[in-house]
């Protein structure tokens, strides 16, 4: 038997399989496909301070081994989330990690404070990396701003704070370091990569928003490399790996590269029971390899260059 539990700072999860924000609806949509109480945790779609209509359609398009999305944080706002979705989320039997996005620091802090007062939430994930909403500079690309934000959120919210980082930077390590320094319980990486798809005959981008975020199997090598970069530079900082994870082997690759847990994203769209199956498959794959506890393999990847 493999001990499947994993830890992210003071947060202990029953197993490393979480589901990524924006790819699992508000969780109830998935209840016929996935035994929710078996998951390591659920992360509902990003909630914002006020309702947002999101972007016009087409909002998604398939690309080689992946997809682009520009949903635009379509949601009914935090009050609706608390009144309508949270009561259900409390019943699913898996740790609930709420994901929030503010238009500025104050909004993030106010939302985190509001959710910090609600029972039944295990942690807050800060979406500081959504490429589909433009309000000036993307907060998540600025290490100083990320550090300041995490610090302020922590002072107003007692829950563990997870900073979800963007891959759309030249070096993610200083940003992860700033989050860690400010007391983030973990960082999750990666969010989607900015990209586009073109219909040259119509001389138009395919997405109504022109550009979108790339996800799916195509991004997995980039996500693995970023997890490894951060794990090597900041060995004490718990990491949640995200990006193209669709099988138990994918998840185990992220664990050895340095992630303590993973999130299944786009795979749910094309394999709706993927996260459910992954829970057992990770344990049996690990057992086959003689592993006794998933914790013991986190970050065990060794460099071929003698590192």
């Amino acid at each position: 038997m493999v001990d499947p539990r994993v830890t992210l700072g003071r947060l202990t999860l029953p197993n490393p399989v979480l589901v990524a924000s924006g790819t699992f609806g508000y969780v109830r949509e998935m209840s016929t496909f996935v035994r929710l109480d078996r998951l390591g945790g659920v992360i509902p779609k990003t909630v914002t301070a006020r309702p947002r209509a999101g972007n016009p359609t087409p909002r998604t398009v398939e690309t080689a081994a992946g997809m682009l999305n520009a949903i635009g944080l379509d949601n009914d706002g935090i009050d609706h989330f608390v009144a309508h979705h949270l009561p259900y989320l409390r019943t699913v039997g898996a740790p609930v990690i709420a994901n929030i996005a503010g238009e500025d620091e104050d909004q993030f802090v106010a939302m985190a404070a509001q959710l910090g007062g609600e029972p039944g939430i295990a942690a807050i994930e800060l979406n500081i990396s959504c490429p589909n909403v433009s309000h000036g500079l993307d907060l998540g690309v600025d290490a100083e701003a990320v550090g300041r934000l995490v610090k302020r959120v922590r002072s107003e919210c007692p829950l563990p704070i997870i900073a979800k980082l963007t891959p759309n930077v030249t070096n993610v390590v200083p940003i992860a370091a700033a989050a860690a320094e400010a007391g983030a319980a973990a960082v999750s990486l990666i969010n989607t990569l900015r990209g586009m798809a073109v219909d040259w005959r119509r001389r138009r981008p395919i997405l109504a928003y022109d550009v979108g975020g790339l996800s799916g199997p195509a991004v997995k090598p980039i996500a693995l490399r970023m997890v490894w970069d951060v794990a090597r530079a900041l060995p004490e900082l718990p990491i949640i790996g995200i990006g193209g994870i669709a099988t138990a082997d994918d998840a185990l690759e992220f664990l050895v590269a340095g992630a303590s847990a993973v999130q299944v994203g786009t795979a749910t769209f094309y394999d709706p029971t993927a996260a459910d199956r992954m829970v057992d498959e990770i344990a049996s794959r690990a057992a086959e390899a003689g592993v006794r506890s998933l914790r013991e393999i986190v970050g065990t990847l060794r460099s071929n260059r003698g590192g």
Binding site: G22, T23, F24, G25, E29, M30, T32, F33, K45, A53, G54, T57, P58, R59, T60, V61, E62, A65, G66, M67, N69, I71, D74, G216, P217, A246, T268, F269, Y270, D271, P272, T273
Partner: protein, 279 residues
């Protein structure tokens, strides 16, 4: 959702019984799956991954409507049919799948059509939009039911794209055809066929439409002008089909009069024509 034992939607690996051409660039695929066949209703759809046997290329599923349920000698549902037109990578990959291969599918999805009307029904289809109406015709024309007759007004670009006309006849649905090029039936829009009937004073108890957005918008205007009850089935682009991704939204009028973007895969694909905000 008939009965209380419905547990779906289901995620299945279904075996292809056959995948045969039925018109130009149009195929009928039969998938053996008693669970979906036994619970899917007219107007609902399934997502099918076109790669087959676990292939990840193409990556996402494609939404396709129920065409017909296949029963064994005892009447038990054992398989279902989908009829599809080859459009791009996904449907073209699907057309290359062979009997005996397996496909990853999930369904039944969406709301489906409502109850049979108390009077004659008219189905208005553009392009490949006829597919949901065979199962609907069978359902609404059940002997002893309130709906005495159903007519399919079926418009395509050209006669060689007509798919399944004999199936509709066999199910007792009258068929009237329109083509853009005049190669069969009325030379012009399918909505002309309905307008002509309404001008003659016909009053169907229910009109249902499926097809390109411009056709559906014209149908919505026409039926509204005549004060007729009309539902439409929308074909928005989808990534998941079960409400998780928010790709498929359409502007739908809410009870308070405002328009809100709603997920076509869970709240639709069937909406009252009056409720859709046509752009």
């Amino acid at each position: 959702m008939s009965g209380t034992d419905f547990q779906g939607p289901f995620h299945r690996c279904a075996t292809i019984v056959e995948n045969v051409p039925v018109a130009r660039e149009t195929y009928r695929i039969r998938l053996a799956d008693p669970a979906i066949a036994g619970s899917i209703r007219p107007g609902q759809f399934v997502m099918i991954r076109p790669g087959g046997d676990g292939s990840d290329d193409p990556l996402l599923g494609r939404p396709l409507a129920l065409y017909d349920v296949v029963r064994d000698a005892s009447g038990a549902p054992v398989a279902f049919d989908v009829v599809y037109l080859v459009i791009g990578r996904g449907t073209s990959a699907l057309s290359r799948r062979r009997a005996g291969e397996s496909l990853s599918i999930w369904g039944p999805l969406g709301n489906g059509f409502g109850r049979a009307p108390e009077g004659p029904a008219v189905f208005v289809a553009g392009g490949i939009g006829q597919t949901p109406f065979l199962a609907l015709g069978r359902d609404w024309l059940q002997p002893g039911g309130p709906c005495p007759s159903a007519t399919l007004l079926y418009g395509v670009r050209s006669a060689d794209l007509l798919a399944g006309v004999d199936d509709f006849h066999a199910a007792g649905v009258h068929v009237e055809i329109a083509t853009d090029d005049g190669s069969a039936g009325h030379h012009g829009f399918v909505t002309d066929l309905l307008a002509r009937r309404l001008d003659r004073g016909e009053r169907p108890a229910k009109v249902v439409g499926c097809g390109p957005p411009a056709m559906l918008a014209a149908l919505a205007r026409l039926t509204e002008r005549h004060g007729l009850d009309c539902d439409v089935s929308l074909e928005n682009h989808m990534a998941c089909g079960f409400g998780a991704c928010f790709s498929c939204v359409a502007p739908i009028r809410q009870p308070d009069g405002s328009a809100d973007l709603r997920r076509v895969c869970v709240e639709g694909p069937v909406f009252p024509a009056r409720g859709v905000v046509w752009s």
